[in-house]
C-alpha cells in the first residue's frame, strides 16, 4: 500500500494510440465477403432470423451479397434494422444470429453474419442516399426523448410514415450508447455520427440536443405540442458498489471513462493508471479494461464476483479482454478500496467460490490488488426522476409498458433500456421500430389532436 498514485495521459506515442483505437475488426474485402456469403446455406426457416431481435432476413441479405446485389442486401438489412451498420459492429452475434447458425453444428464455424452485415451496410453508406422514401406528410408530430438506438430507430420509422419527429437528448450529440458508451475501436471513424447522418436523410426529423428531460422539457409539456411522446431514455445512472473508499481520487465510473475516450479524437489526453482494477463483468467492464490497456496501462485486472459463465460479457468479449492482456479474476467480491493521501492504492477483495445454489460463498480469505486507478462497472440503472409527476408508472425500476410499448399515460410510449427486457442495442432498435409502427397505427386511426 506504499505505491505512488500514478495516473497519466499520453503513456503511448500518438501513432500507437491511433493504431490501438482504430477499427478492431477491419471489414471484409469484397472477395472475402463473397467467399463467406457463399458458405451460407440459405436455410429455410432459418434459426439466425429468429435469433435476431430485429428479425433481419439474414439468409436473403447474405444471398444478395453472394449474387453481387449489395444495394438489395443493404435494403434487406435496413428495412428491419435501420441501425444495421452499428449493430453489425456491436452486436454480441455469438449469442444471437451467429450462435444459432446451423454451421455451428456442422463445422463449428458459423457464417460471419455480423461482418457480412457490415459489408452490405458499408456499401450503402459509401454509396450514399436512403433506400427508403418518406411517405406524404401526415401532419402529425411525435416527440422522442433520448437519441440512442431505440429513439433513432423510432424516429426513422415514424419519419418514413410521414410524421414529423422531434428528437430530444440531454447530451450534446445524438447516438446514446453508440456515441458515448461503446469502446472506440468498435465504432471507429466516427461511425455513430455518420450513421445518424445517413438515418436523418429520410427527412422530417429534427434533433434537439442539450435538452434534458425534467429540466428543459417534461412529458406533459411535450404531450401538449405533440400527437405522441416516446420515452427512450436508456440508463442515465450507474450503480454504486457502496464501498468504503469509492470517493478516493482515481476511482472512476467505467461509463465516464468510456465516454471520455469517445469524446477524445486522439486519446492522448485521456489519463489512465499504470495498474488498473476494473470491478464488474459486463461489456462495459470489458470495454473499459481493454481500452485502459490500449491507453498504455501496464496491468489491468478485471474482477468479477461470480464465474466466467455468469458474466454478462460474452465468451468472445472475455477472450477479447484476455488477448488484450487483461487479467480476469472470478469469484471475488470487493470489500473496500484502499488509499493513501486521498488517492487510491488498491482494492481489497474477499475470495469466494460457487456455492451449492450457484451463488458465491465467501470463505473469508482476502487479497488486495494494487491499483492507482479503479474503474467501476457494476451496472447501469434507469433514472426515473425526470418522470416525476408525469403519471408514467414504473415496474421493477423501469417504465411499465404493455406489449405495444404504451405506458400508463395515453399517448406516451416507451422502449429500449428504460423498459424491462434485455439491454442490447439491437433489442432497443427493435423496440423503437415497433413503437413507431404502433404509434402510426394508433394515430392514423384517430383524428388529429386538437392543439390547445
Amino acid at each position: 500500500m506504499d505505491q505512488t498514485p500514478d495516473i497519466a495521459a499520453t503513456r503511448l506515442p500518438g501513432d500507437v494510440l491511433a493504431r490501438n483505437f482504430a477499427d478492431a475488426h477491419p471489414p471484409l474485402t469484397a472477395n472475402q465477403a463473397i467467399i463467406e456469403a457463399e458458405r451460407c446455406y440459405f436455410c429455410h426457416d432459418a434459426p439466425c432470423i429468429e435469433a435476431c431481435p430485429t428479425g433481419i432476413d439474414i439468409p436473403s441479405f447474405i444471398h444478395k451479397i453472394a449474387s453481387g446485389n449489395l444495394r438489395g442486401s443493404a435494403r434487406t438489412i435496413l428495412e428491419s434494422n435501420i441501425l444495421g451498420g452499428s449493430c453489425a459492429r456491436v452486436c454480441p452475434t455469438e449469442i444471437l444470429c451467429e450462435g444459432k447458425c446451423v454451421r455451428n453444428t456442422q463445422d463449428a464455424r458459423p457464417i460471419q453474419i455480423g461482418a457480412l452485415q457490415r459489408h452490405a451496410t458499408d456499401w450503402q453508406m459509401a454509396h450514399g442516399g436512403q433506400p427508403f422514401a418518406r411517405a406524404a406528410a401526415t401532419g402529425r408530430r411525435v416527440a422522442v426523448v433520448g437519441a440512442g438506438p431505440a429513439g433513432l430507430a423510432c424516429a426513422h420509422r415514424l419519419a418514413m410514415h410521414g410524421h414529423d419527429v422531434d428528437v430530444y437528448d440531454a447530451r450534446p450529440k445524438a447516438g446514446g450508447l453508440n456515441e458515448y458508451g461503446v469502446a472506440a475501436y468498435k465504432l471507429a471513424d466516427d461511425f455513430a455520427q455518420r450513421e445518424i447522418d445517413f438515418l436523418l436523410e429520410i427527412g422530417g426529423i429534427v434533433l434537439h440536443p442539450d435538452h434534458c428531460l425534467g429540466r428543459d422539457i417534461t412529458v406533459p409539456s411535450l404531450r401538449e405540442d405533440h400527437d405522441a411522446v416516446v420515452l427512450t431514455l436508456g440508463h442515465a445512472g450507474v450503480r454504486s458498489p457502496g464501498l468504503a473508499g469509492q470517493d478516493l481520487a482515481g476511482v472512476v465510473s467505467a461509463v465516464d471513462f468510456i465516454a471520455t475516450l469517445r469524446a477524445s479524437p486522439t486519446k492522448a489526453d485521456v489519463p489512465v493508471g499504470r495498474r488498473v482494477v476494473v470491478i464488474g463483468g459486463g461489456n462495459t467492464a470489458v470495454d473499459a479494461a481493454v481500452q485502459a490497456r490500449r491507453l498504455g496501462a501496464d496491468e489491468v485486472t478485471m474482477v468479477y464476483r461470480r464465474g466466467a459463465d455468469h458474466m454478462s460479457a460474452t465468451t468472445v468479449e472475455q477472450e477479447w479482454a484476455q488477448t488484450n492482456g487483461v487479467t480476469i479474476r472470478h469469484w471475488a467480491a470487493p470489500t473496500d478500496i484502499r488509499g493513501a493521501d486521498g488517492s487510491v492504492t488498491g482494492v481489497a477483495f474477499t475470495q469466494g467460490a460457487p456455492g451449492a445454489d450457484g451463488r458465491p460463498v465467501y470463505d473469508g480469505l482476502s487479497f488486495t490488488v494494487a491499483a492507482d486507478m479503479v474503474l467501476l462497472a457494476v451496472g447501469q440503472v434507469f433514472v426515473a426522476d425526470p418522470l416525476e409527476g408525469s403519471g408514467v408508472s414504473l415496474a421493477g425500476g423501469r417504465i411499465l409498458v404493455d406489449g405495444a410499448g404504451r405506458t400508463t399515460v395515453p399517448g406516451v410510449y416507451a422502449g429500449g433500456d428504460c423498459t424491462p427486457g434485455p439491454d442490447l442495442t439491437v433489442s432497443a432498435v427493435r423496440d423503437g421500430r415497433d413503437i413507431a409502427e404502433q404509434i402510426h397505427a394508433d394515430l392514423m386511426s384517430h383524428p388529429p389532436l386538437q392543439k390547445a
Binding site: Y41, F42, C43, H44, A66, V102, Q106
Partner: protein, 426 residues
C-alpha cells in the same frame, strides 16, 4: 501398386493421363515440363498447313460457380499458330528425350487428299507415336470447312480417316465432336474408315456468358464476342454419356477409346475408365492448377485401385458398362426412400423446402418450441433423391432401398400402350 501402364491403339504410356491437344501442348517447353511432372503422354496441339493461323487476343471465358473458379471453360483459340517446321522439330526433340511417353500429334488440314498425304510423312518422320484427327474444333476452323465441319459429316470422317490410314503407318485416333445429335454416327464412320481408336469429347459449342457492361458475349475481343468450345468439369456428364454410348455399342466393340471431358481428379479418371475408356486426356484441370496435379491423379487412382482390387487398367476398364442400360430396362418396382439421420441433421430445412416447394411434400417440418425436426413421410416419398442432394451434410440423408417384389420394366408395364413392341431404342 496397381499397374497403370496403358496401351491405346498400340501407343504405350506409363500411365493413362495424357494432356489433350490444347495450349498446354503447344510447345516443346510446355511438353517437357509436363513430362517432368509425370504426364504419361501428350497430344500435341493441332498442326495445320503453313502459313499458320492467327489467334486473337482474349481467348478464354469461364463459368465460375459459387466460388469455384472455372467450373467450365470456353476458348476461342484456333490450332497452333506456329510454323509447321517449328512444331515438327520440337516434336522430334521431345520424343527423342522421352521415348517412354506417348507423343501423339493432332492434325487438321483441308479436307482434300493431297493435304493429308503431304503432312503425314512429315509427322511420321518426327518419331511421333500416332496422330489424332481434329474433327472437333467448333469455332474458327469449322467456318473454313475443317474441324467440326468435318466431324459433323460422317462421310467426311470416314473418308479422311481412310486417307490417313492409307498414307501413314502411325496409329490413327479420330477425335469426335459432341456437336452432333448421335455420337454413334461419326464414331461408326471413323471405324469404317479404319480408325485405330476414337477420342471423345471435343469441346461443345458455347457462349460462356454475356458481359453485361460491354453487352457482348465473353470473351470480348475488341468489343465483340463469338461462340467457342466449352470444356472443364461442367462438361463431364455430357462426355461420360457419349463415352458410354460408344463403348457399349456392339458395332464399336474392341475399338479403344481415349476419354476426354472435364477429367479433374483420379475419381473422374476412374469413372471414365469404368465407362469404357482405355486412355484419358486432360486439359482444363492442368490449365487451372498447372501440371503438378497429375501426381494425385496417378497416386489417387493407384491407391483406389489397390483398395478395390483392380490390378491393372484392363481389369477396371468398362466395369460399369454392363449396368449402363436404356431407361426402359430399369425396374419400375424398385423403390428407395429417404432417411434423415437426426443426429447428423443441422436443421437447415433445405430438404423440407426443396421437397415442399418443388417435389412431393414428403418431408414434414416439425417445431416444438425452439426445436426443429424434419421427418420423411414415407407414403409420400417417391425416392427422387432431391433432398439427399440439397442436404449440405454428408451422409445425413441416405436413400434406403426397400424390399423389391420382382421385376417389371416399362416394356412389360400395363400402362405402356406399346407393350411388347418396344425395342431398346425406346
Amino acid at each position: 501398386m496397381a499397374d497403370l501402364r496403358t496401351t491405346l491403339a498400340g501407343i504405350r504410356s506409363p500411365n493413362p493421363f495424357w494432356l489433350a491437344s490444347a495450349p498446354p501442348t503447344d510447345k516443346e517447353y510446355n511438353v517437357r515440363r509436363a513430362f517432368e511432372a509425370g504426364w504419361g503422354g501428350v497430344v500435341w496441339k493441332t498442326l495445320g498447313e503453313d502459313p499458320p493461323v492467327v489467334n486473337v487476343s482474349s481467348r478464354y471465358g469461364a463459368v465460375n460457380y459459387n466460388g469455384t473458379r472455372m467450373a467450365g471453360l470456353n476458348n476461342i483459340e484456333l490450332i497452333s499458330d506456329r510454323p509447321l517446321a517449328t512444331n515438327l522439330a520440337e516434336i522430334r526433340s521431345v520424343k527423342r528425350d522421352y521415348p517412354d511417353r506417348a507423343v501423339v500429334v493432332s492434325l487438321m488440314v483441308p479436307c482434300q487428299e493431297e493435304s493429308w498425304k503431304a503432312i503425314l510423312p512429315l509427322v511420321e518422320d518426327t518419331g511421333a507415336d500416332g496422330i489424332e484427327l481434329n474433327f472437333g474444333c467448333p469455332h474458327g476452323m469449322s467456318e473454313r470447312n475443317m474441324g467440326s465441319a468435318v466431324g459433323q459429316v460422317p462421310e467426311y470422317v470416314e473418308m479422311v480417316t481412310r486417307w490417313c490410314k492409307q498414307y501413314t503407318r502411325m496409329p490413327v485416333i479420330v477425335k469426335l465432336t459432341p456437336n452432333i445429335t448421335n455420337i454413334l454416327v461419326p464414331a461408326r464412320a471413323a471405324r469404317r474408315g479404319g480408325a485405330d481408336a476414337v477420342s471423345l469429347i471435343n469441346t461443345i459449342q458455347s457462349i460462356v456468358g454475356v458481359d453485361l457492361d460491354a453487352m457482348a458475349p465473353m470473351p470480348v475481343v475488341g468489343g465483340l464476342g463469338t461462340h467457342g468450345g466449352y470444356c472443364g468439369p461442367a462438361v463431364k456428364p455430357i462426355a461420360l454419356r457419349m463415352l458410354g454410348d460408344v463403348a457399349r455399342d456392339p458395332e464399336m466393340a474392341g475399338l479403344p477409346i481415349s476419354g476426354i471431358g472435364g477429367i479433374s481428379s483420379w475419381r473422374d479418371a476412374a469413372e471414365f475408365l469404368a465407362m469404357g475408356a482405355t486412355g484419358l486426356q486432360v486439359c482444363t484441370a492442368a490449365m487451372h492448377y498447372g501440371f503438378k496435379i497429375v501426381e494425385d491423379m496417378i497416386d489417387g487412382l493407384s491407391n483406389w485401385m489397390d483398395e478395390k482390387g483392380y490390378a491393372s487398367l484392363d481389369a477396371l476398364r468398362g466395369q460399369a458398362l454392363p449396368r449402363y442400360v436404356h431407361w426402359n430396362q430399369l425396374n419400375l418396382k424398385f423403390k428407395t426412400i429417404a432417411r434423415i439421420d437426426q443426429d447428423a441433421c443441422i436443421k437447415c430445412g433445405l430438404c423440407h423446402i426443396a421437397c415442399e416447394d418443388t417435389s412431393h411434400q414428403a418431408i414434414a417440418k416439425i417445431r416444438a418450441g425452439d426445436e426443429r425436426r424434419y421427418e420423411v413421410i414415407d407414403e409420400e416419398c417417391v425416392g427422387c433423391n432431391l433432398c439427399a442432394h440439397v442436404c449440405p451434410v454428408d451422409d445425413c440423408i441416405t436413400m434406403t432401398p426397400q424390399p423389391v417384389d420382382g421385376m417389371q420394366t416399362w416394356t412389360e408395364h400395363p400402362n405402356n400402350p406399346m407393350r411388347g413392341q418396344l425395342t431398346n431404342a425406346g
